[in-house]
């Protein structure tokens, strides 16, 4: 995991496996407080409190094909390495929220990386799931909501190459305008 986008993709895959229909990804850059917050919120089937206690153990996983589960521990480590924090909240049948904070200008904070590519990969491979991407850089904001796009395109599939090109284009423009520091 070299970039924070890799972590986002990884954690979002958990949400997809939990049967989520809407996944909200928020990146929040607060220069004044030297704080970067990444939050991934889903409406999947969630976990009971017993399971939540165990998810940060690298030797705990719900999968049976292998005995380790590193996604969440790696994100927690990446956050704490940059002086940040890590939180996970989950309610059974309601969903899970993962929140990690980072020192925005900390030397050991991983770069955000290719977030546009990550969103495109997620949308193309999971055309039945909605994604809401929010990015704030101080007073500038950018949002991309596949629910809004779906409303306009009606029966055209969201993973159609032309629609993907549009999504990529709006994200490039939007992020250029807010000039992310991360």
């Amino acid at each position: 995991m070299l970039t924070l986008s890799d972590h986002i993709l990884d954690i979002t895959e958990n949400s997809i496996r939990a049967g989520a229909k809407l996944i909200e990804i928020s990146v929040d850059e607060d220069s004044e407080n030297n704080l970067l917050t990444i939050e991934i919120k889903d409406d999947g089937h969630g976990m009971d409190q017993n399971t939540v206690q165990k998810v940060l153990d690298p030797f705990y996983t719900t999968k049976t094909v292998r005995r380790i589960g590193l996604g969440l521990p790696l994100l927690k480590d990446a956050a704490e390495r940059s002086g940040g924090t890590f939180q996970i909240n989950s309610q059974e049948n309601q969903g899970t929220t993962v929140k990690a904070t980072f020192g925005l200008r900390h030397l050991d904070r991983q770069p955000l990386g290719a977030i546009i590519n990550i969103m495109v990969i997620l949308i193309i491979s999971n055309s039945d799931i909605d994604f809401f991407y929010k990015h704030r850089h101080n007073d500038r904001r950018f949002e991309m909501d596949t629910r809004e796009i779906r409303k306009e395109i009606e029966d055209v599939p969201i993973n159609h190459p032309q629609i993907i090109k549009y999504i990529r284009g709006t994200m490039e423009e939007g992020l250029r305008e807010i000039e992310p520091e991360a």
Partner: protein, 127 residues
């Protein structure tokens, strides 16, 4: 460049509608890029980016791309499964951008299985 707006989206919709009526939306191939923690950490994202660019360049419409989680063979990641309709799925191991280009051009488009990169033929059994 002019800013993209909702109107652009509407135009795209019209255009796609016109094209869709001319073409059968058949799905011939499904390509799965395994995107567990292990896959992502070993470069599955770069493989996926390359694959999407190849599909875009080849202008094919019968190829579906999807992702899946880890299937327990982390040491052989990145893994890619190519399923051509009516043929057993082929799993490729240690895939990188160059290999996926070759797999796409030779296997997906021309039907020649790229044996040197193959891990297995058939579906995995997950408990």
């Amino acid at each position: 460049m002019a800013k993209l707006t909702i109107d652009d989206l509407k135009k795209i919709k019209e255009k796609v509608h016109n094209e869709m009526s001319l073409r059968d939306g058949d799905r011939r191939v499904k390509i799965t890029v395994h995107m567990g923690t292990c896959g992502i950490a070993s470069g599955a994202k770069e493989v996926m980016d390359t694959l999407l660019a190849e599909i875009d360049e080849a202008k094919v419409h019968d190829v579906v791309v999807t992702t899946s989680g880890c299937m327990g063979l982390c040491s052989r990641e990145p893994l890619v499964t190519v399923e051509i309709i009516n043929e057993p799925p082929i799993k490729y191991e240690y895939v990188n951008p160059n290999k996926i280009r070759q797999i796409f051009k030779r296997h997906v488009l021309a039907g020649e299985i790229q044996t040197p990169f193959v891990l297995a033929k058939g579906s995995e059994i997950t408990k």
